[in-house]
């Protein structure tokens, strides 16, 4: 038996995160990921996935980069490399955005929060040092950039995340989806964002590294909360239709190809002035040649990243960038790039993996409905 896939199970030679020994104490199996030793699973991916969809799961995402920008023009300067509306973003409001190369390719995807005195961003772990180099190159000295590598980041996700966290901090009830704020719990200062990567309601909690174990222990002491590994994090985000950087998003992919046009805010579409604007806005107007879509796969065998989409003559016309078995739907699902004219919902295509054909159908994402706690319309 041998693994064909990308997860490296070899003895890791990686950095340790603040919760390393806590994970091992919880029975985690650790693997190498983004230069760190990370928990891939505790009791099993399927059980952890279902637990998060029905209760609340605690994820350690401390490998991600937490970056703070200070300086008077930080928002306007960031807008030169992000296509999102940052200048008019409300205080303690969060926006999903994309770090763009000068040709419009996606260098990373990130969450940006405007705070009273600075801007807080969370970027991907595997890309954080490259991101910083690029940002520093494109930022005047008047903006100070601080990587908060003395902080851990925990995500609490699931339909019971709200009640679970409110049992410790009742004030988090005031947060709705994509809002954030500063809170305190038992001597710990926490920056809490109501956001996540599972499609469920939930929070991302920034905490000083020395308090990470205490916080994780408190949260998992709640009867509705269990620790969840990276394996279930991947299957949850796939069901939620959320792209994974380095797989579904790369420097060769633009925001419109990735079907992330919502990240181009109105004023920015009208005014441009961001890296790659000419190409990206052109594609926004005229459409891109290819597009990221969701696929249902016939049968039970999963399609994985690297499988291809072929035409009737067997020529490669698209690529599967993420794929796996959906524990919630009990069937294989995938994300792929296909020619835009074949991206309509219901289009039946043929994929090929290790020489074997698979019938696939383009389907709307998310595969499993989002369950965010949105602010009621006034």
């Amino acid at each position: 038996m041998s693994d064909q896939n990308e997860l490296d199970d070899s003895p890791p030679q990686d950095q340790k995160l603040p919760l390393d020994s806590w994970h091992r104490g919880q029975g985690a199996r650790m693997v190498s990921f983004a230069g760190y030793e990370m928990p891939i699973q505790y009791e099993g991916i399927m059980a952890e996935h279902i637990w998060t969809r029905e209760n609340a799961g605690l994820f350690d995402v401390s490998h991600m980069g937490q970056v703070v920008f200070t300086g008077e023009n930080a928002d306007a300067e960031l807008e030169k490399i992000l296509p999102g509306e940052i200048q008019k973003l409300g205080v303690n409001r969060i926006r999903y955005s994309l770090l763009l190369a000068q040709d419009g390719g996606i260098l990373d995807d990130l969450m940006v929060t405007r705070r009273a005195n600075d801007i807080y961003a969370v970027v991907n772990g595997a890309t954080k040092y490259d991101d910083l180099a690029y940002i520093i190159d494109n930022m005047p000295d008047s903006v100070t950039i601080n990587l908060m590598d003395d902080h851990a980041l925990l995500a609490l996700q699931g339909p019971k995340a709200g009640t679970a966290l409110a049992s410790f901090i009742p004030e988090v009830d005031n947060l709705y989806f994509m809002m954030a704020g500063a809170f305190a719990l038992d001597g710990m200062d926490l920056w809490i964002s109501r956001s996540g990567y599972t499609g469920e309601d939930g929070f991302e909690i920034s905490v000083a590294a020395q308090h990470a174990e205490k916080l994780a222990g408190m949260l998992c002491g709640h009867e509705d909360v269990k620790p969840i590994g990276l394996g279930a994090r991947d299957s949850l985000r796939l069901e939620a239709g959320l792209p994974l950087y380095g797989h579904d998003l790369t420097p060769q992919i633009t925001p419109i190809q990735a079907d992330l046009g919502f990240a181009l805010n109105k004023r920015r579409r009208e005014q441009g002035g961001f890296a790659g604007a000419q190409r990206v806005l052109g594609e926004h107007k005229d459409g891109a040649a290819m597009k990221r879509v969701g696929l249902f796969v016939d049968g039970r065998q999963p399609l994985r990243e690297g499988a291809i989409i072929v035409d009737d003559a067997g020529n490669e016309i698209g690529q599967v960038t993420s794929g796996g078995f959906s524990p919630s739907l009990e069937r294989p699902i995938a994300m792929a790039y296909v020619p835009s004219e074949l991206s309509e919902e219901g289009t039946v295509l043929t994929a090929q993996q290790r020489g074997k054909p698979f019938a696939v159908t383009v389907t709307k994402m998310p595969f499993v409905p989002h369950n965010y706690r949105r602010k009621p319309k006034a």
């Binding site: 038996m1 064909q4 896939n5 099993g44 991916i45 065998q301 796996g324 078995f325 294989p332």
Partner: protein, 123 residues
């Protein structure tokens, strides 16, 4: 009947020229939740080390190799309906395929249960 083991975490029950092949409990623990299994067709001739079956968990796809040469006499059709048999009973109901052995001398290099246990403990 004797049971042999390979370093690829397969087990082989041998009765004369007939062998039954599966993966070990250690292997299923490493794989996690199995969601799909593809077993070889009857009559397929397999050389030692050939790809014989595919097992897919939530996170990964893996090959099962033919631990010895032979002709497939039966694939376990129950796995198509219930691939989780690999997790619940890997060394029993979760067998993969049966082989008519073409060269029983190939069994000589394989491990017995005690040696396999020692091998796993060393990993």
């Amino acid at each position: 009947m004797s049971r042999y083991f390979t370093e690829d975490h397969e087990w082989i029950d041998v009765d004369g020229n007939n062998a039954t092949v599966g993966i070990t409990n250690y292997a299923q623990e490493q794989l996690g939740d199995v969601v799909f299994v593809e077993v070889p067709e009857n009559g397929k001739e397999l050389g030692k080390g050939d790809d014989a079956a595919v097992v897919e968990s939530v996170k990964a796809a893996s090959d099962v190799y033919a631990p010895v040469s032979g002709t497939v006499s039966e694939g376990n059709v129950a796995l198509a309906d219930d691939p989780s048999l690999i997790n619940t009973d890997p060394e029993g109901e979760g067998w993969f395929f049966k082989l008519d052995l073409s060269d029983t001398s190939q069994l000589e290099g394989l491990m017995d249960e005690a040696a396999y246990k020692e091998f796993v403990a060393s990993l």
